[in-house]
């Protein structure tokens, strides 16, 4: 009986499709990456209800010490000296787009008087809607 010669198989791991997989992952990251217009570090309040904020919304951030930064949603946020400047900023934004949503990114420990002045400025500027930026409340937080 004739014995068939031993088949010579390639022992290497096939890596030909590795680049394809990697580039798919890159495309995923590039599409999903969202450039934050405001990188202020704040401890956000926690809520159960959270709604998606429209893209290109204007941002107003208030830190724990009451420092305010604003961004119209198109460019990186800039600091402003006080709530009076928030009013002029908001008036400009509303004049350009009356339905522009505003996002209030305030620290959960900031005294309410700082937030009150910002909300008042937005009301005076005739802003339609404010989103109070929040984190998801978890079961551990509620307990």
């Amino acid at each position: 009986m004739k014995i068939r010669p031993r088949s010579v198989q390639n022992q290497g791991i096939p890596t030909a499709s590795m680049a394809d997989i990697a580039f798919l992952l890159i495309i995923f990251f590039m599409v999903t990456i969202s450039f934050e217009v405001d990188k202020t570090q704040v401890a956000l309040p926690k809520t159960d209800l959270r709604f998606e904020i429209p893209k290109k919304a204007a941002y107003i951030s208030v830190t724990e010490t009451g420092q305010i930064r604003v961004s119209s949603g198109e460019e990186i946020s800039v600091p402003v000296p006080g709530p009076e400047e928030v009013l002029s900023f908001a008036a400009q934004v509303v004049a350009a787009d009356p339905s522009k949503p505003f996002v209030l990114k305030a620290d959960r420990d900031v005294p309410y008087r700082y937030v009150d002045r910002v909300i008042d400025a937005l009301k005076q500027a005739k802003a339609e809607v404010i989103y109070l930026l929040s984190e998801q409340e978890t079961v551990d937080d509620a307990a």
């Binding site: 890596t15 809520t47 709604f51 904020i53 209030l104 959960r108 005294p111 409340e137």
Partner: protein
């Protein structure tokens, strides 16, 4: 003179492609920050000139003191009891105004917690609180009496 035949492989070398791609992936993974893009929406009243005068007696006033102490219609209450307190009032009048009034030194997080609780009324007690307002200090001085 004898010309040497070029035996070079005509294929494009792609063996390092995966290395480059994975380096790019690592770069994107490290630089990506998951931005918080969700929050509670809060519609602002638009008819400023026709602002209805709400009598304090008709509305439910939720005063938020520092450290999250709640006084609902002058009575001390826990955040979990607010909706049960509101339920009979809303059943009689679905447009019952609910006013959230944090004090100046109250931490902002407590205001958001109360607003979040009231917004969940439909899920928790089956009635939506349609008339919630958070007046600012200027409005309180202008419109309240």
């Amino acid at each position: 003179m004898k010309l040497k035949k070029d035996n070079a492989d005509p294929e494009i070398p792609t063996s390092s492609m995966a290395d480059i791609a994975f380096l790019l992936i690592i770069y994107f993974m490290v630089t990506t920050t998951f931005a918080a893009t969700r929050g509670l929406d809060f519609s602002l009243p638009q008819e400023d000139n026709e602002q209805p005068m709400v009598e304090k007696e008709e509305s439910v006033l939720i005063e938020i003191q520092p450290a999250g102490i709640l006084m609902v219609d002058q009575k001390r209450m826990d955040i979990d009891d607010i909706l049960e307190y509101l339920k009979p009032k809303l059943e009689r009048n679905p447009m019952k105004p609910v006013i959230i009034r944090p004090l100046e030194t109250t931490e902002y997080g407590h205001m958001v917690a109360v607003f979040d609780e009231i917004r969940q009324a439909k899920d928790k007690i089956g009635i939506e609180v349609k008339n919630v307002s958070i007046p600012t200090q200027r409005e309180i001085e202008m419109f309240w009496y």
